[in-house]
Subunit: 365 residues, 2 copies
């Protein structure tokens, strides 16, 4: 086995999920994530944790959903009981085809998702972490050779997380102390309130309220958004290519939108519910191990020199105790490149210009 696979498993189990002896762990395995599952099982065995492996295959889900009537029992007892009794939930993404469920009607997908709200909540109550095994399917989506993609993925995953967490803590402090954020760039001049909100130092560990590996972003929950923003990082959203989305905000709400490609899918998302027209997240990518777009949100939104905004649901960790932020059934991230001709200001002071942070060499205030 490639030593990087073992190292990935160690980071996931030890750093990300903080697994201890006696923990009840569910490991969800994609069909092509077998090798990582073997490495994770080895680490869980060393840790003295208890392992249940589930099988997360898009083709299995597709066959089940397409054959169904579209009506589903709510939170099936066996699935719910597994989630409720798990201390840790590790999702090892790695399918054979990222579009495996592309021909499942949206309403069936949504009905199934809705019927499993309790299962999902139980999972979110555990120490859950999502990661991805670098597969040929992901390499293809990134337009990369397999070996090239593996190097890319492990550069992103096998960081010195402790050091990155220290650097990200600086950005967290700026946002926690700040009241208003302004983002300026080509086709972008946007202001948001962040007063009273708490930023998450997303250092790829549940100890940091961070549930992705790789991670490497600092995010908060903005409100009262005004102005316009252009997202120039290309993405696939709900199976459709989306390019150069432009959103215009007034009174915290999207009042106009267009896109060079995929305007329809953006329109559908914005029409989902009331919260879908408001921002749920402002995230600042700080993982410099990620140096290119690979059409995979797990990686893209953490990329150094990018900022992302999500319409829809806000994360509880950013909100004052007991307060609910923006609520919505959706949470859709959109990304803008800030490496050139752009700046991020907090309360009128520039924190990042052309990708450089205030505390970095080469920063020009």
């Amino acid at each position: 086995m490639d030593e990087r696979v073992r190292e990935h498993a160690r980071v996931l189990v030890d750093w990300s999920a903080r697994v201890e002896a006696g923990d009840n762990v569910v490991v969800s395995v994609g069909p092509d994530a077998h090798e990582l599952a073997v490495a994770v099982a080895e680490r869980l065995g060393e840790r003295g944790a208890n392992l249940v492996a589930t099988y997360a295959a898009g083709e299995v889900t597709r066959a089940y959903l397409r054959a169904s009537t579209g009506e589903f029992d709510e939170d099936p007892a066996h699935e719910l009981a597994l989630a409720e009794n798990a201390d840790v939930y590790l999702s090892l993404g790695g399918g054979r085809n990222a579009s495996a469920t592309a021909d499942v009607p949206g309403e069936i997908r949504q009905a199934h998702r809705k019927a499993r709200t309790g299962v999902r909540e139980a999972r979110y109550d555990s120490r859950w972490v999502s990661t991805a095994h670098p597969t040929r399917s992901l390499a293809q989506r990134a337009n990369m050779a397999y070996e090239e993609y593996r190097e890319f993925a492990y550069d992103a995953i096998l960081r010195d997380w402790e050091t990155l967490a220290e650097e990200m803590a600086k950005m967290k402090t700026v946002l926690d102390d700040g009241e208003e954020v302004r983002l300026v760039g080509a086709g972008t001049d946007l202001t948001m309130r962040i007063d009273g909100r708490t930023a998450v130092n997303s250092a790829a560990s549940v100890a940091y309220d961070s549930h992705n590996l790789p991670s490497g972003e600092v995010f908060t929950a903005p409100y009262a958004t005004e102005g316009e923003v252009t997202f120039d990082v290309p993405m696939t959203i709900e199976g459709e290519a989306v390019r150069d989305v432009r959103l215009e905000f007034a009174d915290g709400e999207v009042v106009a939108h267009d896109a060079a490609q995929g305007a329809d899918v953006i329109g559908e998302i914005l029409d989902t519910d009331e919260g879908a027209r408001r921002l749920g997240e402002l995230g600042i990518g700080m993982n410099r191990g990620i140096d290119r777009y690979t059409d995979n949100i797990l990686f893209d939104e953490k990329m150094g020199d990018t900022v992302h905004l999500a319409v829809g649901r806000a994360y509880d960790a950013c909100l004052p105790e007991g307060e609910t932020g923006n609520e919505s059934a959706v949470h859709t991230d959109l990304i803008t490149d800030v490496s050139e001709d752009s700046r991020l200001e907090v309360d009128g002071e520039v924190v990042q210009r052309n990708g450089r942070f205030r505390w970095e060499d080469g920063f020009e205030g």
Copy 2:
């Protein structure tokens, strides 16, 4: 998808497990059983059942067990809760290497098995069915080409189970009414009491107390065994080749054993506990879709023209209500070919001679 895979799924879900709308189903998927899992998911979707897929990979188990200290928590809550809340448990065997766990020390394997007794019992309380997807690994073990093996496997699995159940009912009646069985052949002259025991018409359906697909055997729980028996069907037991095992019984207990190959592993099994020296099962193979040995007990023990005996644990279904039969941690089947120079008698009357049953053409009483 090969239509036989879909047909396999239909037999499994409809005939074997009798799945109904609202059933909570666990489907355990071997790494190379993906295609069957897709077909089963489709059928479960049509039925309106609820699906949780688990991943049963020998290499994952091996990594976990070898890394562990050999001490395990008893019945982990998440694993137990999943089993206890499942109405149906379908095991889709299909690994990439039948010997994937060959180098896990026996004591670790046993400790892990023992720590999960409650999980296993909960599973046995559900409508459980074990089947196997015909894989290249199984073809190799059978010394057969892949396509040839697939034809063999589907011949065994896609039977007219209703008709076979009717034929097997005749054998069940003979055994239920009988008091003593005598098996005579080359190197074999064995008598067993079956008085008071109930035979199972194992027609590959939970409706018949039958939990294997393929099945096609009638079995009961004998006792008071006397005489000797030779098992001439070659097998692999606990990773070791076993040939021509000979057991000698007195007072219901094995008093001597030898084998042309693998005598050691047989000796170890017999020494496991007190019950391991007594018979737990007498089974009569009646699936004529299985016409050759493939070194896979799921198929071999159901083969027409064979009789098998198991040392160790007896099945509850064969015993009077509330009575416990032979108890043991083991249940090891051994098979003898009865196609030539052999006869099976019940209370002195010949029921099967040279493979032909009393009710078949060509039977020579």
